[in-house]
């Protein structure tokens, strides 16, 4: 089947998503991390718009716009304000040094490629080859949550994982039914609100966002 130009663009967008997730893994500074997170939201919106165009599924445009507003603009801005007025010091202390994390990330991509091989063979969708990348994004964002010391970076990891899931939805199934899509977006929004609520609490009681202090209360 002749691969049209637009389909190639979808492939490029998927590659961009993978690149962004790796960048998130590699960041040292909080501000840079948030900027890349916003970029991820925008790329996500772009891919869903592209897929909507390629597979001519109209509702996908709505979810693309939704993604752009919510994940591209709103969440990063919220996180940015939290970082500013909590006066978080700049750098992100990773538990495991960055180069090792990147190595593990590469291995995970290879692993997710092998795992999703059978899915690609079966699915007739035009965007089937992006499933492997979607799975890789999910695993990488989980890795990001594990290897970060700060509560904020863990939240970013969680939200990156939500983005990866949104991307999976668009790539494997041209987007979930609208009802489900809205529901998921609504849940992510509430989750972000609750995170904000928690940060003030943690700040007030532990006066530091390090996760170690949470533990020694046991």
């Amino acid at each position: 089947m002749q691969v049209t130009l637009l389909q190639q663009w979808v492939g490029v967008a998927a590659a961009m998503m993978l690149l962004v997730v790796f960048a998130l893994l590699a960041q040292r500074h909080m501000h840079a991390l948030l900027r890349w997170f916003a970029l991820q939201g925008i790329v996500l919106a772009l891919t869903s718009a592209l897929v909507a165009n390629v597979a001519d599924v109209p509702e996908l445009y709505i979810s693309a716009i939704l993604a752009l507003i919510l994940k591209g603009v709103l969440l990063p801005w919220m996180l940015w304000r939290i970082v500013i007025n909590l006066g978080m010091h700049r750098e992100v202390e990773p538990l495991v040094n960055v180069s090792v994390t990147l190595l593990i990330g590469a291995a995970l991509v290879l692993f997710s490629f092998y795992v999703s091989l059978p899915i690609e063979k079966l699915s007739q969708l035009v965007t089937r080859n992006t499933i492997a990348i979607a799975l890789a994004c999910v695993l990488l964002s989980m890795l990001m949550m594990i290897t970060r010391r700060k509560a904020i970076t863990q939240v970013v990891g969680f939200l990156a994982m939500e983005n990866a899931l949104f991307f999976t939805a668009t790539s494997t199934t041209y987007g979930m039914p609208l009802l489900v899509e809205i529901g998921v977006a609504f849940d992510v929004l509430i989750a972000a609100l609750v995170f904000g609520l928690f940060f003030f609490q943690i700040r007030k009681t532990f006066d530091s966002l390090n996760l170690e202090d949470l533990e020694d209360r046991q």
Binding site: V115, M142, I146, Q154, L214, E215
Partner: protein
């Protein structure tokens, strides 16, 4: 079947009244004890009906929808109903008096609530005819008796004993559940008669046998699993421990018979089944009595003796199983009847002894034999009843203990029929163990009676002891009289028991016992062996009576101080104590005990003279060190390893999820 149902329902009525009437203790006591006595009576009648009439089955609407509760009243259930009924009625009469004084010290409502439940549980187990209701009543019995054991839960030792008791009961219950599950897996149904006719492969049959032996052995107190029994029984109030020691371990024997002999069926038996039960029995017999000898707590001593007597019953069962395997049905019937006869005897004299111990505890306020003594003058009637109990348990002629031991010896002497198998050599050795256990039991009960009742009182409590009230004496008199009757009239009792071997090994002793008249007991054949208890009793009375008559007109007796090599008047401290009485045996069997002795010596100024000396020895069971502690330590070690899992931080927990996901995905490649 009406009586079989009325027994547990009356016990349940007692349970309900126990709960509802918690207002005044007196009414509560009378109502509960009366209902229990009636329940005991109806159990006796049901037992007799079961033994004499043909088996009846019925179903009750409660239970799972597709498995209503089945009940069966056949010979086996009948015999054990008889045993339970006799002792429950006796103990309930005894409790009429005993509970009055107990109410002062403990919250007796729990006793009134859980004693009837305990009796209902036991009655239910005996008449259950499907695995599900058997298990329900079985564990109901365990839980109810747990609450009886922990009645006095202020002391820490009682709680520990209660915990160990319920843990072992639960483990035993699960093992029995395993053996039922094996039978269910092959027969496809829970009802006993379907299980009975199921054909088992040798491996499944042996697995079910092992599970049943361990499960019921744990409840009965066979040697490796007996550790809870001497801890739990002395701690319970005396009427409860009389019931527990008298009947509960017999219900375990019933369970063993029902599962192994009836359901699994001895035709599926392997040759080593009987041998295993025989060795377990003889080691329990000797181990139990050796440990009993070294105790100085009266009720703990009696509890260890329960282990010994269960061993003797197991020897009878083992012999029966061996003969059944080599298909000598009449000899198997002899072994079984010997075991059942001893079950009935033990229920009676152990119940009597525990009630006696309760009376001593009630009036002398101490269980420690070192502080008792001289009670025969202060409690004459209890002393006589206790003496009858001691003679019966030491298997001496006019009383019932001797008859069952005699039958077991006869069964053991049939071993040459087995023509040179290994078991044939094992049997005489177990007969020797039985003889040793019997002789040691006699030594132990001379010590008990001599230290507790004879000599002069060793403490203020013992000095002020007073005779117990009428109800308690009546409660003790019934089993005492029955002990004598069973000792003298076995010829009537054995045909009654015959219904049980008729079901299990379809052979009976009836005709060989009947055809030689009511005077002689000839289990197998006239020439073989015979014993006529009546002639022995008459001859004893005659010989003793003749000289009593001649002597009666003899010179008047004179009373002086006992001979003490001419020194001062002997005081109570010069008497032998429980520890000193068993000192020779402690030295001879030293390597079987784990002794810790304590010597406190206070000098008198310079170090040469001692002002005061106190010596105490405590004997601990070897089984604790080599069987129970290792298990406990491995579990403690495992819990420490698992605890590492929960001391991580949030990263650790996320890694667990992440790694599980990767492993599972990896498995699918």
């Amino acid at each position: 079947m009406f009586w079989a149902l009325s027994a547990p329902s009356l016990a349940l009525a007692a349970f309900v009244s126990g709960i509802s009437l918690f207002g005044s203790h007196d009414i509560q006591r009378r109502v509960v004890c009366l209902l229990l006595v009636l329940s005991g009576m109806s159990a006796v009648i049901a037992g007799l009906a079961g033994l004499l009439a043909s088996p009846i089955t019925a179903t009750l609407p409660i239970g799972l929808p597709w498995l209503p509760m089945h009940i069966r009243l056949d010979g086996l259930a009948g015999f054990f109903l008889l045993v339970i009924g006799l002792l429950v009625s006796a103990v309930s009469l005894y409790s009429m008096g005993y509970m009055r004084q107990l109410a002062a010290r403990f919250n007796v409502t729990t006793l009134y609530v859980f004693m009837p439940l305990f009796v209902t549980g036991m009655l239910g187990v005996v008449i259950a005819d499907d695995a599900y209701s058997f298990m329900i009543f079985w564990e109901l019995m365990s839980v109810a008796s747990y609450f009886l054991v922990t009645l006095d839960h202020e002391q820490d030792a009682n709680r520990k004993a209660g915990f160990l008791y319920l843990l072992m009961a639960h483990l035993g219950g699960l093992l029995i559940l395993g053996s039922f599950a094996v039978l269910y897996a092959t027969s496809g149904s829970f009802e006993f008669d379907v299980m009975h006719n199921a054909v088992l492969t040798p491996t499944w049959a042996s697995l079910s046998f092992i599970l049943a032996l361990c499960g019921f052995g744990m409840k009965a107190g066979l040697i490796p699993f007996h550790a809870w029994l001497p801890e739990a029984h002395p701690v319970a109030p005396s009427n409860a421990s009389a019931l527990m020691s008298g009947i509960m371990i017999k219900v375990a024997i019933f369970g063993f018979l029902r599962v192994v002999w009836d359901l699994v069926g001895l035709e599926h038996a392997a040759w080593w089944w009987g041998g295993l039960v025989l060795t377990a029995g003889s080691s329990s017999a000797v181990g139990g009595v050796l440990l009993a000898l070294q105790q100085h707590d009266l009720k703990r001593l009696l509890a260890y003796h329960s282990v010994e007597n269960i061993g003797i019953i197991a020897i009878g069962l083992g012999l029966g199983m061996i003969f059944a395997y080599y298909d000598y049905p009449t000899l198997a019937a002899l072994g079984l009847v010997a075991a059942l006869y001893h079950t009935l005897n033990h229920a009676l004299f152990k119940g009597l002894l525990f009630m006696g111990a309760g009376a001593v505890l009630h009036s002398a306020h101490s269980r420690n034999m070192e502080q008792l003594g001289g009670l025969i003058q202060r409690m004459p009637r209890t002393a006589v009843l206790f003496l009858i109990g001691c003679i019966s348990i030491s298997a001496l002629p006019p009383f019932n203990g001797f008859v069952s031991e005699w039958l077991t010896f006869q069964a053991a002497l049939m071993a040459p029929q087995l023509k040179g198998t290994i078991l044939a050599a094992l049997i005489p050795f177990s007969a020797a163990m039985l003889a040793l256990a019997g002789a040691l039991a006699a030594a132990c009960f001379v010590k008990v009676f001599g230290i507790v009742f004879q000599g002069s009182p060793r403490s203020q409590g013992a000095a002020e002891a007073h005779e117990v009230d009428g109800w308690m004496q009546l409660g003790m008199a019934i089993p005492a009289v029955l002990c004598l009757l069973l000792g003298v009239l076995p010829v009537w009792m054995i045909p009654l028991i015959d219904a049980v071997p008729d079901i299990l090994v379809n052979a009976t002793l009836g005709e060989s016992v009947a055809n030689s008249g009511w005077l002689w007991l000839t289990p197998i054949a006239e020439a073989r062996a015979s014993y006529s208890p009546i002639i022995v009793l008459l001859a004893l009375l005659l010989a003793g009576g003749v000289f009593l008559f001649i002597q009666y007109r003899g010179a008047v007796k004179r009373r002086t101080a006992p001979w003490n090599c001419g020194y001062s008047y002997p005081n109570t401290r010069m008497q032998y104590t429980a520890t000193s009485f068993s000192q020779p045996l402690r030295r001879i069997f030293a390597n079987l005990y784990q002794t810790q002795d304590k010597l406190l010596r206070t000098e008198h100024g310079n170090t040469l003279l001692t002002k005061k000396i106190h010596y105490q020895v405590h004997v601990q069971d070897l089984i604790w060190r080599y069987f129970y502690l290792p298990i406990r330590q491995t579990i403690e070690w495992l819990t420490r390893q698992v605890d590492w899992l929960h001391e991580q931080q949030i990263h650790g927990y996320l890694t667990f999820t992440f790694i599980t996901l990767l492993i599972l995905l990896g498995m699918l490649l």
